[in-house]
């Protein structure tokens, strides 16, 4: 276990380093990405820009600039170029919205994904299965901005039962928090529900023909118990790894579209705005933040995996 953790921490450092260097370099290469322009404004004189370059160290070699930025990030003093506010504070402010979105929709997509997957597998080949297949294909292939706009039109404009976007903190107004989040939760979940139910369906259909399922039936267990304890339990193991990575991606700002469509002011929307303004520090920090979550959650997934399937040993 200790060995596993050490390896994972080393891997995390490697991933964060690689991804930060890449992101940093990409923004150096983008035309029109001159940070002095962001800081000085479009109308600034060449003299001001030169002064800014000198002040902020943009005239230094690229590896030194990288080092300076990393130092600022890890001391929490990094500021954005466009508004010159502390990036870490911004993310901290946006995180509750993103976490609310991620956790809520994760519950929904897991619940419905498993439910539809099981129904589909049990009714394999029948009309129910076929309808669910079509539904999940629609779910997977409908873009979030279309679906989001559609539900906003239907449930916030035509029938005004939900607010048209925005975020209310849970601590201030629990019921407002809920009504603001229900639409984004479902919109974000649809893709995952479609995807998870398809994967689970095929896992179940593979598992159901295993010898140990026949053994379970031969023991005289009820169909329900065979299905839940032997078929479903074993079929869910691969779902765990999918879920860990998807969940990490959503927390790390991956739900950019959903957050933007519903104006949730979360980490993803912050990333989207920063990219538009070619504002390197927030993009860099959010990218690293997302990568951090992916690495941490994949380690958690591996630990859960080893618990669920004792044949697997943690080796890093």
């Amino acid at each position: 276990m200790a060995r596993f953790l050490v390896r994972r921490i080393l891997a995390m450092i490697g991933v964060l380093f690689a991804i930060s260097v890449l992101t940093f370099l990409i923004f150096q290469a983008i035309p029109n990405g001159d940070p002095a322009v962001r800081l000085g404004g479009r109308t600034s004189t060449p003299e001001t820009r030169a002064a800014i370059r000198k002040d902020w160290g943009f005239d230094k070699p690229i590896y030194e600039q990288y080092a300076i930025t990393m130092k600022k990030i890890f001391t929490g003093t990094v500021v954005s170029y466009s508004q010159q506010v502390n990036v870490v504070d911004e993310i901290r402010r946006d995180l509750p919205a993103t976490l609310s979105l991620a956790i809520g929709s994760a519950v929904i997509w897991l619940g419905f994904g498993i439910l539809f997957g099981v129904i589909s597998a049990v009714k394999a080949g029948k009309l129910t299965d076929r309808s669910l297949t079509v539904l999940s294909l629609i779910g997977v292939s409908t873009p979030v901005f279309l679906l989001g706009a559609l539900v906003l039109y239907l449930f916030a404009y035509k029938i005004q039962i939900f607010p048209a976007g925005g975020y209310v903190p849970l601590t201030q107004d629990p019921s407002g928090w809920l009504t603001h989040l229900i639409l984004p939760w479902f919109v974000l979940s649809v893709l995952f529900i479609g995807f998870y139910s398809r994967v689970l369906r095929s896992n179940i259909l593979d598992t159901i023909n295993e010898d140990y399922v026949r053994t379970a039936r031969a023991k005289g267990l009820s169909e329900r118990r065979v299905l839940i304890h032997h078929v479903l339990r074993n079929s869910l193991i691969p779902i765990v790894s999918l879920f860990g990575l998807d969940f990490a991606a959503v927390i790390g700002g991956g739900a950019i579209l959903t957050e933007s469509v519903f104006n949730l002011q979360g980490v993803g929307q912050y990333a989207a705005n920063s990219i538009q303004q070619l504002d390197v520090p927030p993009v860099l920090v959010i990218t690293m933040f997302g990568a951090f979550f992916v690495v941490v959650l994949s380690a958690v997934v591996d630990i859960i995996y080893a618990i669920l399937d004792p044949r697997i040993r943690l080796s890093g």
Partner: protein
């Protein structure tokens, strides 16, 4: 003579597949007396496993058609409800399967899987079920059973796993044990141990056993009576001595013997010549064409005068 424990009469099982209907079992009848070891032998695909599984309804499904009669202690099982069958499976009639490697759920402890079987049929505290599972593991010769019960299947060797399988089947002291190729996946020394164990259990507990195998060596070890299956039918039946010393069918001499028999008959009739060719063709493929097999083989056998 006492009433048979199990009577199978004109059992027919067919499956609808993409390649047409497969008549896996075609009018099989036999009975099992209390305390007896009945062996059903036959080649791969002869329908012996399907026969075994159909006894407790494990072949039921949307694509299966089952007819005929299976009576356990006078109770008809082919028309019994799924719940009635569940009550009998594992408790009255237990099964052991061919591959002990894949027959346990790989992610659950052996002990827990046995406890699950016990609790499916008996209303008792879990501790009591655990004690019973451990006893059962011990009784089939697993050393240190209380520790081994905590282990996962992958921590068992193949022979130990088959013992554990038998322990699970016997935990509820069933009247009948159906062992479907219990030794096929094991190496020879382990095979002998498992057969010895079955023999002991048969003698000590008066356990009736249906032993399904393609291995006549296994049959010779422990069977009281033998039925030979071919192409979904029982083609010969009798005591061990009758089958071994006075065979009436060329089937159990193996596919080569059957072809020889057909060839020698070919000298007598031209139809048999065609039959022999068809049979050699089948034998060359090893696993015969499922949908067309029974009719063809029967035709060949008739032609061969066998």
């Amino acid at each position: 003579m006492a009433q048979p424990l199990l009577e199978v009469e004109d059992l027919r099982v067919s499956f609808a597949t993409d390649q047409g209907t497969v008549q896996a079992v075609d009018g099989v009848s036999f009975h099992l007396n209390p305390g007896e070891v009945l062996s059903i032998v036959g080649e791969s695909g002869s329908g012996k496993s399907v026969t075994a599984m159909s006894i407790v309804g494990l072949t039921r499904g949307p694509n299966a058609r089952i007819s005929g009669s299976v009576r356990y202690q006078g109770k008809e099982l082919t028309t019994a409800s799924n719940e009635e069958l569940q009550a009998i499976r594992g408790d009255q009639i237990a099964m052991v399967f061919q591959d002990p490697m894949s027959s346990f759920n790989p992610v659950q402890k052996i002990g827990d899987q046995i406890i699950e079987a016990i609790l499916a049929h008996r209303d008792m505290p879990k501790d009591e079920a655990r004690a019973r599972a451990v006893d059962s593991l011990g009784s089939v010769g697993i050393p240190d059973p209380s520790t081994r019960a905590q282990h996962y299947p992958f921590e068992y060797s193949g022979g130990m796993r088959q013992r554990a399988m038998i322990a699970m089947a016997l935990a509820l002291e069933p009247a009948i044990l159906i062992a479907d190729e219990p030794t096929t996946a094991l190496d020879v020394t382990i095979q002998a141990q498992i057969l010895e164990l079955l023999k002991e259990l048969n003698a000590e507990r008066d356990l009736s056993v249906i032993l399904i195998t393609h291995d006549l060596g296994v049959v010779a070890e422990i069977a009281d009576r033998v039925h030979v299956m071919y192409a979904g039918q029982i083609v010969e039946g009798g005591t061990l001595d009758e089958i071994f010393y006075d065979p009436q069918q060329p089937v159990h001499v193996g596919a080569d013997g059957l072809i020889d028999a057909a060839r020698s008959a070919a000298a007598r009739s031209p139809a048999a010549d065609r039959g022999a060719a068809a049979l050699a063709d089948l034998a060359a493929r090893r696993l015969p064409l499922p949908a067309s097999l029974p009719a063809r083989v029967r035709q060949v056998r008739r032609a061969a005068g066998a």
